[in-house]
Symmetry: C2
Subunit: 347 residues, 2 copies
């Protein structure tokens, strides 16, 4: 045991990675053919128990580990599935990712995660890059055009989350049910003019929510105005506040909780009290009660979405068929403390 700086110098040059114990070496050691070693690992039932034993023992002592790449090359299977999201930093996605990972694990698949930063080019690139190394891809809230998605789907099994492309298996979180409840709730509280703070232009969810709000409002004598927040982020929300107030609305529904949180901050900054002067509802319910005041929001089903999408993909892989599945998950309003009757001034 040499210690400290001296020994370190040696370790720099001496570390040699324990490279490549191959199937042939194991075969030699066990006195069998390479194919038998292969079978000992993949189809032990084909061999006599003693042979399997001998091979496994030899493999063990040599420290043999099957080479994933070689195996993938000959079988065409690598046991990985890709999961691509637009923005890991958005709290909507991590629970979805975790759920997907868990589900993949159950079938011994491994998740490769990609982050596109909301950039379609990056998304395209990532899909291409993943294509060779995964057996299928789950595209979450894709920002790609329908054509690109179709093109990719022609190359490898694809499942979409929150994107509705005909003929491609997809899992949709239907926020319209929850959004409808939100509008009804605000209408009941007496609000007659509501702003929708919209999200990314090419987001399917955004389109869906905007439509749902309009349709809900049309039956309720409620006016809707849309104010764009560009991105789904705190800053975007905060910047949108002036425009929101300029409409004269008394309540807002934001594209997501992050945006809502930004709006909340912007309102506080302008001394507009929530919910006293202004009511606010988010979407996705990712911030739960951690804002102040606790944000009323539309529930999300991201965990189920992740789980279902992955299991759907795995099912496709195993049955080798394409199912034109279309799962829809309903949502509802989660009431907290950012909404109040118009003109109400405390107890």
């Amino acid at each position: 045991m040499v210690s400290g700086a001296n020994s370190r110098k040696y370790s720099e040059t001496m570390i040699k990675r324990a490279k490549g114990v191959t199937i042939s070496q194991v075969a030699d050691a066990a006195g069998v053919a390479r194919s038998s070693v292969s079978r000992a690992f993949t189809r032990p039932d084909m061999l006599s128990p003693e042979t399997v034993d001998r091979i496994l023992k030899a493999a063990e002592t040599l420290g043999y580990v099957p080479n994933h790449t070689a195996r993938a090359l000959s079988t065409g299977r690598h046991g990985n599935i890709g999961l691509i999201v637009p923005d890991i930093a958005n709290p909507f996605f991590p629970p979805l990712i975790q759920a997907g990972q868990l589900e993949a694990d159950r079938s011994d698949f491994c998740i490769f995660l990609g982050n596109t930063e909301e950039n379609p080019k990056q998304e395209d690139k990532l899909v291409g890059r993943f294509a060779g190394q995964v057996e299928g891809i789950v595209l979450v809230s894709s920002r790609l055009s329908d054509e690109r998605i179709r093109a990719h789907a022609a190359q490898l099994p694809l499942v979409l989350i929150n994107r509705d492309v005909d003929g491609i298996p997809r899992v949709l979180i239907d926020s319209s049910s929850g959004v409808r409840q939100a509008v009804e709730h605000l209408a009941e509280l007496g609000h007659r003019k509501i702003v929708y703070v919209s999200g990314p232009a090419n987001s399917w969810s955004n389109k869906q929510r905007r439509t749902a709000i309009r349709s809900a409002a049309s039956g309720l004598k409620v006016d809707i105005e849309t104010v764009p927040a560009v991105l789904a982020s705190y800053t975007s929300g905060r910047n949108a506040v002036s425009a929101i107030l300029a409409t004269g609305a008394t309540a807002a529904v934001a594209f997501d909780d992050l945006t809502a949180q930004g709006v909340l901050a912007g309102l506080a900054e302008k001394k507009v009290s929530v919910p006293g002067d202004f009511s606010l509802i988010g979407c996705d319910d990712v911030l739960g009660a951690v804002t102040y005041p606790a944000l009323t929001s539309v529930s999300n089903r991201s965990v189920e979405a992740g789980r279902v999408a992955v299991s759907l993909l795995i099912e496709m892989l195993q049955s080798n068929g394409i199912r034109d599945a279309r799962y829809v998950l309903q949502t509802h309003l989660v009431m907290r403390e950012t909404t109040m009757a118009l003109g109400y001034r405390g107890p």
Copy 2:
């Protein structure tokens, strides 16, 4: 153009993935040997420009895409690097991941992201699984034992973030500088008893912060008590509040911002006003000004950490050497609104 349900039935069975245009087919089409096709892509300078042209054209029309797996098998290189984090849902990590991804991109590497859910077993498994498909791994805030880390480092290039294992390249965010400032700040405000709300037991950062607080306090006539929060999360922080108050302390430093946010909520629940009655400081500054009141926190350097770790790894891969590098990134206190002089009662 047949529409709707009918055509769908066909598409189910008819879709055949455009599988496997190989190098041989391109070679035939272009009238050259397989090796020339290979060279046209990897070392075009070895071929005459016209030949390259012809081959590329043939490849283009056939829709040839080099098979990543096959290439990896013969070269031993796959151009991927693994990045493993304990919890994507923790806002500390996404910026780090993004920065790493960006840096990897610059050298045309692709990041495979793994999430361990704070579980060492899962981490071990993930490293093993990645080992065959990536050229190196960045382990962020590893929860593994030193031995396991060393064992893995013997198998493939490894860079650590926020983990200090001798002989293994590592990038450390030194929160002690910032934490020291935090304690000094609280001491100046008159606080004489401070609680450290600790984080995960096997977290290097946690150990570092606890030590730094103790050492900073010892020179300042300040008492430190430690209250465990078990996990780095909102809930853990919130649950720790009773214990925190029971110590009689007037201020706390939390392991991270998430924990601090939980503490903030717990205090509000118990009608303890912040900063009036109690001062609170977080770590990692991930929530910025989005809490209420805006959280004073110790800055993080996660973006640099991600960038440096990845570039370090790539450097190792290219030079094929192991550098016993140890980058340390300093931090500082970011003042906001959750600290106040003891006994101060407003202007």
